[in-house]
Symmetry: D2
Subunit: 336 residues, 4 copies
Amino acid sequence: MGSLSINNGNNEIHSNGFNGKIQSGGDQAQRRSCWYEEEIEENLRWSFALNRIIHTGATQYQDIQLLDTKPFGKALVIDGKLQSAEIDEFIYHECLVHPPLLHHPSAKSVFIMGGGEGSTAREILRHNTVQKVIMCDIDEEVVEFCKSYLVVNQEAFSDPRLELIINDARAELQSRAEKYDVIVGDLADPLEGGPCYKLYTKSFYECIVKPKLSQNGVFVTQAGPAGIFSHTEVFSCIYNTLKQVFKYVVPYSAHIPSYADTWGWVMASDSELMLKTEEFDLRVKQRMTGENRFLDGTTFLSASTLSKAVRNSLDSETHVYTEGGARFIYGHGKLN
Amino acid sequence: MGSLSINNGNNEIHSNGFNGKIQSGGDQAQRRSCWYEEEIEENLRWSFALNRIIHTGATQYQDIQLLDTKPFGKALVIDGKLQSAEIDEFIYHECLVHPPLLHHPSAKSVFIMGGGEGSTAREILRHNTVQKVIMCDIDEEVVEFCKSYLVVNQEAFSDPRLELIINDARAELQSRAEKYDVIVGDLADPLEGGPCYKLYTKSFYECIVKPKLSQNGVFVTQAGPAGIFSHTEVFSCIYNTLKQVFKYVVPYSAHIPSYADTWGWVMASDSELMLKTEEFDLRVKQRMTGENRFLDGTTFLSASTLSKAVRNSLDSETHVYTEGGARFIYGHGKLN
Amino acid sequence: MGSLSINNGNNEIHSNGFNGKIQSGGDQAQRRSCWYEEEIEENLRWSFALNRIIHTGATQYQDIQLLDTKPFGKALVIDGKLQSAEIDEFIYHECLVHPPLLHHPSAKSVFIMGGGEGSTAREILRHNTVQKVIMCDIDEEVVEFCKSYLVVNQEAFSDPRLELIINDARAELQSRAEKYDVIVGDLADPLEGGPCYKLYTKSFYECIVKPKLSQNGVFVTQAGPAGIFSHTEVFSCIYNTLKQVFKYVVPYSAHIPSYADTWGWVMASDSELMLKTEEFDLRVKQRMTGENRFLDGTTFLSASTLSKAVRNSLDSETHVYTEGGARFIYGHGKLN
Amino acid sequence: MGSLSINNGNNEIHSNGFNGKIQSGGDQAQRRSCWYEEEIEENLRWSFALNRIIHTGATQYQDIQLLDTKPFGKALVIDGKLQSAEIDEFIYHECLVHPPLLHHPSAKSVFIMGGGEGSTAREILRHNTVQKVIMCDIDEEVVEFCKSYLVVNQEAFSDPRLELIINDARAELQSRAEKYDVIVGDLADPLEGGPCYKLYTKSFYECIVKPKLSQNGVFVTQAGPAGIFSHTEVFSCIYNTLKQVFKYVVPYSAHIPSYADTWGWVMASDSELMLKTEEFDLRVKQRMTGENRFLDGTTFLSASTLSKAVRNSLDSETHVYTEGGARFIYGHGKLN
């Protein structure tokens, strides 16, 4: 490819008269000389060719970058970890939001723990049953950053049904009197000693989340990697911990290309979580504005039908997250 | 390091309430997740951590990028090859310019083939003997780009003694009547079939350059990599070719960190090129404004005293660049 | 981590008396200084830390490497592309083999196009209904290589039911009189102009494959990437092409971590391909020796239930592979 | 290039019949899919394409790898840092050894602190004046490893004039009664808290080294990076520390391609260290067997003539290494 840029007429006098050290490789080299590199695990790297580094900075809590990548479009990176990429964030956010809202008879109020990016609120606000959404994120600067940079969420941020609170999600939820039809956990993975660990424990679910769910209330949380090997990092424990607290618990997963892995979510409630494929699709039609790009009844059937290996370790998982003990995921080892 | 950013107080609630997939690694990861990568050779890579991609675009002739790199500051990249880096371009440009101008009894007029970046003109204009500088570069857009982005050269670009011409250096030189005290070749390396090959041949030196040198005139050219192995790529041939045309030829070299190699220059004249260390330093003091950061008489003595291996291959080099045949340097293989 | 290896007692005199240039970084650095790097796409890289390069060589047809990688164990690399990795090849091979064999009332004879690695034969031979397996691969050296290096397949290679033929799969199949209950396509993706393109066309399926299928015969082929974006490369066309030739066509997919993508397979027959989850599991129990690590009835239900986006493009796919025209996948651009 | 391997006849049926996921890229991809990567500094990486990982292991003190790299041949890597590469180690070792031995009127006995690799001894033993060489390295396994793997040094290891001692260099030197004509420091850089720091302090030079030098004795040490920027890391301090202890101190440097930097050495004595170029060459001819590949009188003149910037910081350096305080070099930051 690069060869073309050299062999054609232009290049016969290509940079004739430019200073030293020009060599061949032309546009190919140019197009691919800048890379974003992420460690998926200590021994596994994932690298995207870059168009631009749109923004890079640090908030009170975390480092933040907005990159323009060739393979995945604009990418939000927090503390060196990809949070969400333009071309496939819809998978993560549709899976986090729609199953709980559609399984609920008619979700009017929703509380988001985290979600500063705005995409979770955006998806929730597509439900016409929803009258009120509380988004509680601790990092005001990240929220402001996403407000101004993530065009796709700007409408959501200005939706009158959305109330934005800057606070610790746990403290905020505890302090509030009212209950919610759906509570969404859009938080960092439960690293022991990590920022969000306390928001994944049995006692948190029992004493803080469950009491704030109205009747038929549904709780959902992102649940970390759920691949055939990676699901044992936190997915199986989050599932098992919720099983101690709720009558009905539904784990599901989907492959997200930009994460280079299958991702997991867990939905939990004391009311049965059963929805036929057709009923799922009907509710999408009746309750939601716009088209889902990823999720429909059939897709959810597939996503909530786990493979043999994953089913088996979920069934045999004994670990429960408590204030005391946690499971590790990559990166944690570095902390001690 | 990453650990600190997690263990400290801030991070006890670090991103508490941000959406999924945040893990440890903190600022270190952030600081080093974006890289510029260059192939020095096919099997050798050189990578700089990036702060920003300041500009990226394509002119009629070449792709151009201005990067803000952590190890070397701002870096100008043409067609995926580093041209010059903020923190050490002074080595390249002091070596290209000052030896010929200082060896000349009193250089008044200088012709630059290429040099669009402006740094070569900047160094020439530091000589108070100089009354006129012609800079002839073919790529107007690159010149305009450098004018506006390379602050360090803006004064030079606006110096009344500088005349900027957009043209093919060979055609321009040929078409001009007057002669010059010094002619500077600040061009891409002589890749056979590459843009600048014709500007390194014996016939070009004989028929175009030499006739345009006034009495005591000195020609100098950048001469590609000059490392203990890399000097055979083009350095030794450029030296040997000039030896066919000029009575006195002086090759010299210096290590340029951002190039990951030792670089070479060759100075040629029909007047003897002899300057004692003290005389070199005296002329610097008498003729030049500002301080050299790299070059003085002693440094030039070292730079022009080549190591055994390099001396030997220069002495035994038999190849001469002609319109017919050339030596290859890395990258050329790609062209066919 | 590196710090520990310096601060502890041993290291107080750590390499005291070793030659220059030792610095910190200890085991971490050592553990991660060698990498295997693959371009998933032009702008997307996937890198594994290496323990060893077990073997590297070239056969008459292709370059071959056997690597010992940290994240995925032993990895077979052909022409710079990962073919199969120790820790997750079972996903690819269980999905390729078991659905067609289990859907068939009682598969006795199987023909493998390709499969030189031996893993496909290994999985087929786990079926007690199978009396004869023909494995036809063109590259004898690769087969010999895998025989000697891939311990996990050595039993299969020496199974009396296996007949190994070194030949072009198309020619071999055409030349044979007998028919097969199952024909398995374990071939390179259909790059136009690529080696295997001719083995994915409508005419090949119609004139060569279908006539060699006995009654109730089932054909299956690996069908390239099947991710939410990548499935349009070849998966949807292979599906649509088979739909032109067979009455019943079943596409399915699964995420394979070492491929950094979801992978696809398509099963086709003129007999209905319908198997209840329980029946699937029953046949596994009755017909197969050993335990599947990935596949059971429920897993296959999930794998064969495609997501909305993929279903939609499969339904709307109009392209058919013919000797004339093909779809591209990454890498093809390089060929011209 | 890759294209060829696809377009030619062979490849018209290239891997026809090999299992899925083969794509183009052929030999190029194969040739360059494995890389050794080193961090020269935190923000600067240096990567070599790999042929093989010949050996990798850990001794009591350090991790060790022997790699077969494409650009630099066999490379010895200790704790993730390149120690010496087949194609250019001669530069490091000729510079470390020959200047002190040639400046000495007639060096009979030499003590090497470190040098387990064997190359330093190999160069010393080329001097016919030398009757006895003590090599004292603490890491027996590294020495054994190099003995068996580094063919080029095997003759040296079996030279009757060489006495190999496994011990801490400081303790060994202190315990010995006899004096030496030349003492060579072939040790890790002086990281504060690092293994070798104590072997670079003023008190060590004053109380241990100097007393063990016979009359006209010369001490030499490798002195870390000596590039235009990197020389301030340790080179200038080592120079200044030796100046406190010895009457005559000669710093010199040379570019070593595989180190991606210019490297430094410092020679010190209480006898004058003056040798004319011709005298240097004469002694090489009279005293040494074999041909130097890098060093001769002229090369040493250039190597010992430092550039303006380096000369200036050496002259203005005030720091002295003491048991108390040290200078840092990259990697050290990690230790705390």
